[in-house]
C-alpha cells in the first residue's frame, strides 16, 4: 500500500491506483475532461497534469500510477498554467461569447465550469485565427443530434460507444486541426450500426451530443435545473435499469442514467428505450377519466345493462385486428436516421398517415362515456360480485401485470383470492418464461435465475446463449455480454436467426427452429463420449442421471446434424467448449420457451448444464433472461394461478390458513384448486364469464388473435385498467385509467432477482389514480379489508408472508436494491444461489430425460415458410407504450417481415414491398424487409404492430406442462400484394 502526499495531505492509496483515483478517494478534485470512470484512459486532454516532486515534467494524474513516497501538488503554478493553457486552446474553437461578460455568465456544462473556475476568458469569435470545430451532425435525427461547434474532442463518446456499448459508431476522423468526431464512414448512423442508446449523450462534457426531445419541449433553464430528479426503474425489459427522471412542469423532461460507478444493474447504461422512450405518458391518447360503456345505467341503486344485446353488445365502430391485418399499408419508409429524411420529400405525408393509424382512433371512444371513479368502481364491484354469486368465483379471472409493481400485483392476487375466492390469477409470464419455470421447478424447485448479470463480465469464461436476441431485447445486458466477449470470454449462440450476438459469436449454432432438444442432447452425447461431464457434480448434487444418459444415447452429433442443420463438428466443438469452461454461464429467453414443447427444450438445456456442473459458482450462472421489468416480481408475489407469494402452493391447506389469517378472511373462502392460466382462460371451454385485466393487452399478445378477439366479445363483464384505450380495452365495460411508471412508487424485480425501488416523479394527469389506490379501493368495495395507504404499507404485509423477502423494506431498497433471498433485516442479499445445495427436499437436482419431437407445424408445399415472432430494438411488446414514444416510433414506424434476400428474390419482392402472409389460421399484409439475419425458408415478424399483428397467424397449441403457446413456429405462405396507385 503506497503512501503519498497530495497537496500536503498524507494518503494511503491502493496499489495500482492512479494519482487521480487516489485524489478522488480522498475527496480532492483534479479537473478532467477526457477521463471518465470506467472508460479506457487515453490521457489526451492534458488538463489533469499535476506536479510531482522530482519529476521534470508535469504528469497526467489520470494515467500515472502512485508510488510510495510520491509528493503531488495538484494546483502548482505550472499545473495551473497548463490548465489555463489547455482551456484557452479549447476555447479558441468553442462558441463561448457568453462567457466574456465579466463572470456573470452561467456555465452551461462541465467544460464551461472549468473555464470559469480557472478564470479563462475566451477571445471574441470574430477575432480568431481558428474556425469553430465541425463534425458529423446527424441532421433530422429523432433522438440524438450533434452541435459539433461545442465539441472539444475529448473522445469520451468514441470510447463509450466502443468500449461500453461495444458498437463503435463514433470515431475521430481526419488529423490535426481538421480532426472531428465522425459517425460511421459516411455520417449515416444507421449504416454504422448505431443503436441510439445515447451513451454518447451521457458522457459528453459539453453537450455537443445532445438529446433532441427535451430541447424541443423545454427551455434550457428547465433542462439544466429540473424541479427534481427522481430515481426510478426503467419500464421496459427485465434488466431493470435504474434511471433518473428529470421533472419539469410536472412532466418527465428527460431521462438520465445513474452514475456509471453506482452499483446498479445497468452500471450506468441504458438502451434507446430507457433513455428516449419516456414520453408515452404524455401522449394525447392518455386516458384521464374512467370510461363506462354506454348502455350501463344506474337504476334504483343498481347498475343494469340497457344497451343492445347479442353479438353487437361489445362491438364498436372499428375494424377488428383481423380486419386491420388485411388492409394494405404504405410500404416501409426508410427508418428515420438523418440524411435519408431530407432525401424523402413525401415522408411527412407518409408519417402522418402512419401516426393516424398508430394512435387510438377517435371512433374507438364512441361506445364509451366518461364517468366518475365512484360510478366506475361501483359498477366493477357489483358485476364481479354478481358473477361470483351467480356462477361461482371460478367464473372470474384476472390478468395481472408484469408492468405493475410487486405491491400492485400482490394486491391484485389478494383481491381475487381473498374477495372473489378464485385462483384464476395469471399474467403474461405464461407467454414468457412459464416453460422455464415449469422445467426449473421440476428439476430444482426454483423459478428464478441462479446468478447475477455482472458475473458474466466478471468471471465467466464461456457464455452460452440460446434463443435470446439479447442486444435487441435486453440491450444493456447485451452490451455487457459483448464487453465480456471483448475481454476474452468465448461466446456460443444457438439461434435460428443470425442476430447481432450470433454474428459476433465464436460459434453460432444456427439450427432449424424448434430442434433445440436434439441439439442440446447431441452436445451432451458428445460430452459423455469424451468423458467431459462433471462426474463429481453428477454424483453429489443430482440424481436420475442414468435416465438422461440413456435418453441422449440416440442423439449422436451426426444424427443431430441431420435434424438441426448444424454441422456435427460444430456441435462437437460447442459441446467441448461448454463442458470445459471452466466457468460456463447458460442464458436463454423466448427462443427456447415459446414453443409447444418449451418445457422439454428448457429441460434438455438444464440437463446439459447439470451434467457439466455449470451452476452454483460465481461465473457459472443459470440465467433465464426475463422479459418484462417485473415479470419476475409478479410471479414472486403470487400473481400466478397455482401459488401464493414465494411459490407457496395454493393446494396446501396450511399455506391457505396462513394467508387467510393475514388477510382477515375465513380459510374456506380461499380456493384450494389451481386456477386457470392465461392461455387457458381465453378458450370457450374455460367457463370464464367476467374478467379484470390490469395493464395487459391480450388481443395483440395472445396466439391466434381472431379467436381471442371473438372470445372477449362473449364475456359478460370486462374491466380493463390501462394507460390507453388499448385494443383489448375497447371491448371493456369499464376502463379505469391507471398511472404510468413515472407516477407511482413501487418495487420491481429484475431478471437477477434484484428488488428495486422506483419512486414517484410526477403527478398523474386528470383524474387518473395510481393502480395501488384503485386496487385498495376496489378490494374494500369487494368486502376485503385492505388497510393500506402506500406501497410501503403493502410491502410490509408482503414480507410477512414471503420468507425469502423477510428482510426487505423500502428503506433498504434505496440504491442498488437487494437480490433475494433476503431472509433477515440485516442480510445483504444473495448474488448467486445453489453453491452447496438446491432448494429441493434432498438438496439435489433431478435430471429429467426428454426426447425430441418435431415441431407441431412444419412447412409444406402450401405453407413453405417457417414464421418466427419476436421483438425489435425500438419497440416493446404490443406497442402500447413504444408506439406512442416519439423517438422510438420514428425509428420503426411500420410493420415489417424480415425475409432472406434469396427468398425475396424468388418471390420477386423488394425492400418495402407489401406481401400477404397466410398461415393455417389467418392472413395479414405487411411490408418486406430484406435481411440475411433470417435463414432461407424462414421469416421473422415482430409482434408489436396492431395493423399487422403477428399473432393473427400463430398457433394456439399449448405446452402440456406450462400451457405456453407455440409462438415461435408456424408455417406460412407469402404472396406479393400490389399496392393501390401511388400514395
Amino acid at each position: 500500500m503506497p503512501s503519498l502526499t497530495i497537496d500536503g495531505r498524507a494518503l494511503t492509496a491502493g496499489t495500482d491506483q492512479t494519482i487521480l483515483e487516489a485524489a478522488r478517494a480522498a475527496g480532492l478534485g483534479i479537473p478532467t475532461l477526457c477521463w471518465y470512470p470506467k472508460l479506457p484512459i487515453v490521457g489526451n486532454c492534458r488538463i489533469c497534469l499535476v506536479s510531482v516532486a522530482g519529476e521534470p515534467k508535469l504528469l497526467p494524474a489520470c494515467a500515472t500510477k502512485v508510488t510510495d513516497g510520491m509528493q503531488v501538488t495538484t494546483e502548482s503554478h505550472a499545473a495551473v498554467q497548463n490548465r489555463r493553457g489547455v482551456l484557452s486552446l479549447l476555447l479558441e474553437r468553442y462558441p463561448a461569447d457568453h462567457l466574456r461578460n465579466g463572470g456573470r455568465a452561467e456555465p452551461r456544462n462541465e467544460f464551461e465550469r472549468y473555464v470559469m473556475q480557472y478564470g479563462v476568458v475566451p477571445t471574441p469569435t470574430w477575432g480568431r485565427d481558428l474556425p469553430l470545430r465541425t463534425g458529423d451532425e446527424r441532421p433530422g435525427d429523432p433522438m440524438i443530434r450533434h452541435d459539433m461547434t461545442t465539441c472539444i474532442l475529448c473522445t469520451r463518446c468514441v470510447r463509450a460507444c466502443e468500449d461500453i456499448q461495444v458498437v463503435g459508431v463514433l470515431d475521430v476522423g481526419f488529423r490535426g486541426e481538421h480532426a472531428e468526431i465522425v459517425v460511421g464512414a459516411d455520417g449515416d448512423p444507421e449504416k454504422a450500426g448505431c443503436t441510439w442508446c445515447g451513451e454518447c449523450v451521457r458522457v459528453c462534457p459539453t453537450g455537443a451530443i445532445f438529446e433532441v426531445m427535451p430541447k424541443e419541449r423545454f427551455s434550457p433553464q428547465q433542462i439544466r435545473h429540473p424541479e427534481r430528479v427522481v430515481r426510478s426503474v426503467c419500464p421496459y425489459c427485465g434488466v431493470g435499469c435504474q434511471v433518473d427522471l428529470h421533472v419539469a412542469n410536472n412532466t418527465v423532461a428527460r431521462v438520465t442514467s445513474p452514475d456509471i460507478e453506482a452499483d446498479t444493474p445497468n452500471q450506468g447504461s441504458t438502451c434507446v428505450k430507457g433513455r428516449f422512450g419516456y414520453d408515452f405518458p404524455q401522449h394525447r391518447d392518455r386516458l384521464t377519466t374512467p370510461l363506462i360503456r354506454r348502455g350501463w345505467e344506474k337504476e334504483g341503486g343498481c347498475w343494469a345493462w340497457k344497451g343492445r344485446r347479442g353479438a353487437e353488445r361489445r362491438g364498436g365502430p372499428w375494424k377488428s385486428i383481423e380486419g386491420e391485418g388485411q388492409q394494405t399499408k404504405p410500404g416501409t419508409p426508410p427508418r428515420v436516421t438523418g440524411k435519408k429524411v431530407r432525401q424523402l420529400p413525401l415522408l411527412e405525408r407518409i408519417d402522418m398517415d402512419i401516426r393516424d393509424r398508430v394512435a387510438t382512433p377517435s371512433s374507438w371512444y364512441e361506445p364509451f362515456r366518461e364517468a366518475t371513479w365512484d360510478e366506475a368502481l361501483e359498477l366493477v364491484a357489483q358485476e364481479l360480485l354478481r358473477i361470483k354469486q351467480q356462477r361461482g368465483g371460478d367464473a372470474l379471472a384476472c390478468f395481472s401485470s408484469a408492468k405493475c409493481s410487486n405491491e400492485e400485483n400482490y394486491l391484485m392476487m389478494r383481491m381475487f383470492r381473498g374477495a372473489l375466492g378464485t385462483n384464476n390469477v395469471d399474467h403474461c409470464t405464461r407467454l414468457c418464461h412459464s416453460t422455464s419455470v415449469a422445467a426449473m421447478q421440476r428439476a430444482i424447485n426454483t423459478a428464478a435465475a441462479s446468478g447475477s448479470m455482472r458475473e458474466i463480465e466478471e468471471a465467466c469464461d464461456v457464455i452460452f446463449i440460446a434463443g435470446a436476441n439479447t442486444t435487441e431485447s435486453h440491450p444493456v445486458f447485451g452490451a455487457l455480454i459483448k464487453r465480456a466477449h471483448e475481454k476474452g470470454a468465448t461466446l456460443i449462440v444457438a439461434d435460428p436467426r443470425r442476430t447481432e450476438l450470433a454474428g459476433r459469436a465464436d460459434i453460432h449454432l444456427q439450427m432449424q427452429p424448434g430442434t433445440d432438444v436434439a441439439l442440446y442432447s447431441a452436445m451432451l452425447h458428445h460430452i459423455l463420449t469424451q468423458g467431459l461431464e462433471n462426474k463429481e457434480f453428477i454424483t453429489t448434487r443430482t440424481h436420475g442421471f442414468e435416465g438422461v444418459r440413456e435418453a441422449v444415447r440416440a442423439y449422436d452429433p451426426d444424427r443431430a446434424a441431420k435434424i438441426t442443420g448444424v454441422p456435427a463438428d460444430t456441435i462437437r466443438r460447442a459441446a467441448e467448449l461448454y463442458a470445459t469452461g471452466p466457468n460456463t454461464s447458460t442464458l436463454w429467453a423466448m427462443g427456447l420457451t415459446q414453443h409447444a414443447m418449451g418445457t422439454d427444450i428448457v429441460t434438455s438445456l438444464l440437463n446439459l448444464m447439470f451434467a457439466c456442473g455449470m451452476i452454483g459458482r460465481w461465473g457459472a450462472a443459470m440465467l433465464p433472461i426475463r422479459g418484462q421489468n417485473n415479470v419476475q416480481g409478479a410471479s414472486d408475489v403470487g400473481a400466478i394461478p397455482f401459488v401464493y407469494t414465494d411459490y407457496q402452493p395454493v393446494t396446501d391447506p396450511e399455506v391457505r390458513e396462513r394467508f387467510a389469517k393475514t388477510w382477515g378472511v375465513s380459510p374456506e373462502s380461499l380456493s384450494l384448486n389451481k386456477g386457470l392460466m392465461v392461455t387457458e382462460v381465453v378458450k370457450p371451454e374455460s367457463g370464464i364469464r367476467g374478467m379484470y385485466i390490469m395493464g395487459e393487452n391480450p388481443i395483440i399478445s395472445d396466439p391466434d388473435i381472431a379467436h381471442a378477439e371473438h372470445w372477449f366479445l362473449q364475456l359478460e363483464f370486462l374491466a380493463v385498467q390501462d394507460l390507453f384505450l388499448t385494443e383489448t380495452a375497447r371491448y371493456a365495460d369499464v376502463v379505469l385509467p391507471g398511472a404510468s411508471f413515472a407516477e407511482k412508487t413501487g418495487t420491481f424485480v429484475n431478471t437477477e432477482r434484484r428488488i428495486q425501488l422506483a419512486k414517484k416523479a410526477v403527478d398523474s394527469p386528470g383524474q387518473v389514480r395510481g393502480d395501488l389506490e384503485i386496487l385498495i379501493d376496489l378490494s374494500n368495495r369487494l368486502g376485503l379489508n385492505a388497510p393500506f395507504k402506500t406501497a410501503d404499507d403493502v410491502m410490509r404485509e408482503i414480507v410477512r408472508v414471503t420468507p425469502s423477502w423477510a428482510g426487505v423494506t423500502h428503506a433498504r431498497l434505496e440504491g442498488a436494491g437487494l437480490q433475494y433471498p433476503v431472509p433477515t433485516p440485516d442480510h445483504p442479499g444473495t448474488r448467486f444461489l445453489f453453491a452447496d445445495a438446491f432448494p429441493t427436499a434432498d438438496g439435489k437436482a433431478t435430471f429429467v430425460p426428454v426426447q425430441y419431437t418435431d415441431p407441431v407445424e412444419l412447412p409444406d408445399d402450401a405453407y413453405p415458410f417457417v414464421m418466427n415472432t419476436g421483438r425489435q430494438l425500438y419497440h416493446w411488446h404490443t406497442g402500447t407504450m413504444t408506439r406512442r414514444a416519439t423517438g422510438l416510433d420514428a425509428r420503426e414506424p411500420t410493420p415489417i417481415v424480415e425475409i432472406h434476400p434469396a427468398d425475396a428474390a424468388r418471390l420477386g419482392v423488394a425492400e418495402g414491398d407489401l406481401v400477404r402472409l397466410t398461415s393455417r389460421r389467418n392472413s395479414m399484409v405487411t411490408a418486406v424487409r430484406v435481411s440475411d439475419r433470417v435463414a432461407r425458408g424462414q421469416v421473422f415478424v415482430p409482434f408489436h404492430f396492431r395493423e399487422a399483428a403477428a399473432n393473427l397467424l400463430t398457433n394456439p397449441i399449448l405446452d402440456p406442462y406450462a400451457k405456453m403457446a407455440e409462438l415461435k413456429i408456424c408455417a406460412v405462405r407469402i404472396e406479393p400484394v400490389r399496392m393501390p396507385a401511388a400514395v
Partner: protein
C-alpha cells in the same frame, strides 16, 4: 543509378561501405561480402551475450532520442512468458532526413541481418519492419531481399514481415507505429506502460531504428571495442553517424562520419561549402524537430549527442538542414509549423490546437498582418506545447519557433512592422 557521391576521405565508411554497389543488394552478393555470417554466429549465442556486446559498444538509438540500444534490449523480460515482438522503425519521415532510405536501398540484407540478430537477442517471435509508404523503391528492394533471405532460410525460427505505412508522419513515433501495425488509428499511446512491458498487441516489444540495427552485425563482427573506438569527442557517443545534409550547400547528400565530427568541417569540407557568394545563416542539425542554430553556434558544434545538447539543440535523426543568407527563416519556420499541424494526430489539446494556431499566426505574420503581441503569443503557445503532451510532436513544432524567434527576431519584426513585403496572401 549509382550513389550520388564518391566517398570523401574524411568519411568513415561503415554502414555506407556498399552504398552504390548494386551487387550488394542481392543475397548472393551480400553473402560474398561476408553477410549473414554474423547472424549465424549470433543465433548460436546466448541472447544475453549479444545484449552485453551491444551494451559495451556504446551503440545508441539513431532514430533521434539516442537511447542506449543494449540497455533498451535488456528491458525485455529475460524469462519469456508471452510472445515478444521487434518493430523496426523504417518510417523515416522527419523532414531533412533520408539515411534509412539509403540503407534500405543499398544494403537491405544488412538491415535484415541486424534485425534478425536483434530479434534473437530479445527473443522476439515476430518482427515487423514498418516502412514509410512513400518509399516505393526501398519497399521493392526490401521485399525482394526478404524473399531471397527467406528462401535461403537464414532467419531460423524468426519471422520477419514488412509493414507498409500509409503516409502519416506520426506513425514514426514508436507507440503510434504499434497502433498502426495493430490496425488502429496511428495515435501515440500514453507511457507507461513502456513497450518493453506492454507494446505491440499488449506484448513485450522493442522498437529500433534502421540505422541502429544495421550497425549491429558490424559490432558483432569487429567487436564492441572497435565500435567504441569510433569516437572523436565525448566517449558517450560512439560509432559512426549517417548525416543527411540538405539545403544550401554545394554537395548535399548522405555523409557517414565518426561521432564527434565538427559540423563546420562537414559543411565546408565534405559538402563543399556554401553556394558561391553566399554565407551560412542557420543550421537545423538533427531533422526538423530540433532547435535552430545560428552561424556562430553551428560552426562550433561537434556532431554527437552531447555536442549538440551543449549548443542547445539535438543530434536527432541527423538530418542537417542548411540555410544560407538568402533564406527567409520566418517562411521556413512557418513551413515547418504547417508540417506539424498537418501531421498532428489530434489527440492532445496542446498539439492539435497549438500547432494549427501557431501556423495560422505565422501565416498571418507572413501576410503582413502580424502584431508585435503575436510573437509573445507564439512563445506563450510554444511554452504550452512543450513537455505537456503524450508524444513530442508538439514539442517539435515549438522548438524551431522558439529558437527562431530568439535568434532571428528581427526577421519576424520586419514582417510585422512592414519593413518586408508580405510573401503570402492573407
Amino acid at each position: 543509378m549509382g550513389f550520388p557521391h564518391t566517398p570523401h576521405p574524411r568519411e568513415t565508411l561503415v554502414l555506407s561501405k556498399h552504398f552504390g554497389d548494386t551487387d550488394a543488394r542481392t543475397y548472393k552478393g551480400w553473402v560474398k561480402r561476408g553477410g549473414y555470417e554474423m547472424l549465424n554466429q549470433a543465433l548460436a549465442m546466448e541472447p544475453a551475450a549479444i545484449i552485453e556486446e551491444v551494451k559495451a559498444s556504446g551503440l545508441r538509438g539513431r532514430g533521434g532520442a539516442g537511447f542506449p540500444t543494449g540497455l533498451k534490449w535488456s528491458f525485455m523480460p529475460r524469462e519469456k512468458k508471452k510472445p515478444h515482438y521487434l518493430c523496426v522503425n523504417a518510417d523515416e519521415s522527419e523532414p531533412g532526413t533520408f539515411k534509412d532510405r539509403e540503407i534500405m536501398r543499398w544494403t537491405p540484407h544488412g538491415l535484415l541481418e541486424g534485425t534478425a540478430i536483434a530479434a534473437h537477442a530479445i527473443q522476439a517471435d515476430v518482427t515487423y519492419i514498418y516502412i514509410r509508404g512513400e518509399f516505393t523503391e526501398a519497399w521493392d528492394i526490401m521485399e525482394r531481399a526478404l524473399a531471397e533471405a527467406n528462401a535461403a532460410g537464414v532467419f531460423g525460427k524468426i519471422k520477419i514481415y514488412l509493414h507498409r505505412g500509409a503516409g502519416a508522419y506520426i506513425c514514426g513515433e514508436e507507440t503510434a507505429m504499434m497502433n498502426s501495425i495493430e490496425g488502429k488509428r496511428g495515435n501515440p499511446r500514453i507511457k507507461p506502460p513502456f513497450p518493453a512491458a506492454a507494446g505491440l498487441f499488449g506484448m513485450p516489444t522493442t522498437i529500433n531504428n534502421v540505422e541502429t540495427l544495421a550497425a549491429v552485425p558490424l559490432i558483432l563482427e569487429n567487436g564492441a571495442a572497435w565500435y567504441k573506438g569510433l569516437c572523436l569527442s565525448n566517449p558517450k557517443s560512439t560509432g559512426t553517424k549517417l548525416l543527411s545534409v540538405c539545403g544550401h550547400v554545394q554537395k548535399p547528400g548522405n555523409y557517414e562520419v565518426t561521432m564527434g565530427f565538427p559540423l563546420k568541417d562537414l559543411l565546408y569540407d565534405l559538402c563543399g561549402g556554401m553556394r558561391p557568394g553566399r554565407t551560412l545563416k542557420a543550421v537545423i542539425p538533427g531533422g526538423s524537430s530540433v532547435p535552430i542554430l545560428n552561424r556562430e553556434e553551428a560552426e562550433s558544434t561537434l556532431l554527437d549527442y552531447e555536442g549538440c545538447v551543449e549548443k542547445g539543440t539535438m543530434l536527432g535523426s541527423g538530418g542537417v538542414i542548411v540555410f544560407d543568407d538568402s533564406a527567409d527563416l520566418v517562411y521556413q519556420i512557418m513551413r515547418l509549423a504547417r508540417f506539424y499541424a498537418h501531421e498532428s494526430c489530434a489527440q492532445c489539446t496542446q498539439c492539435r490546437e497549438g500547432t494549427a494556431w501557431t501556423t495560422k499566426i505565422l501565416e498571418r505574420i507572413l501576410a503582413g498582418q502580424g502584431k508585435m503581441a503575436d510573437l509573445d503569443l507564439l512563445l506563450d503557445l510554444a511554452d504550452n506545447m512543450t513537455g505537456k503532451t503524450i508524444c513530442v510532436l508538439s514539442d517539435s513544432c515549438a522548438a524551431p519557433v522558439v529558437s527562431g524567434i530568439k535568434k532571428f527576431r528581427n526577421e519576424f519584426e520586419a514582417y510585422i512592422t512592414g519593413n518586408r513585403k508580405p510573401v503570402i496572401a492573407a
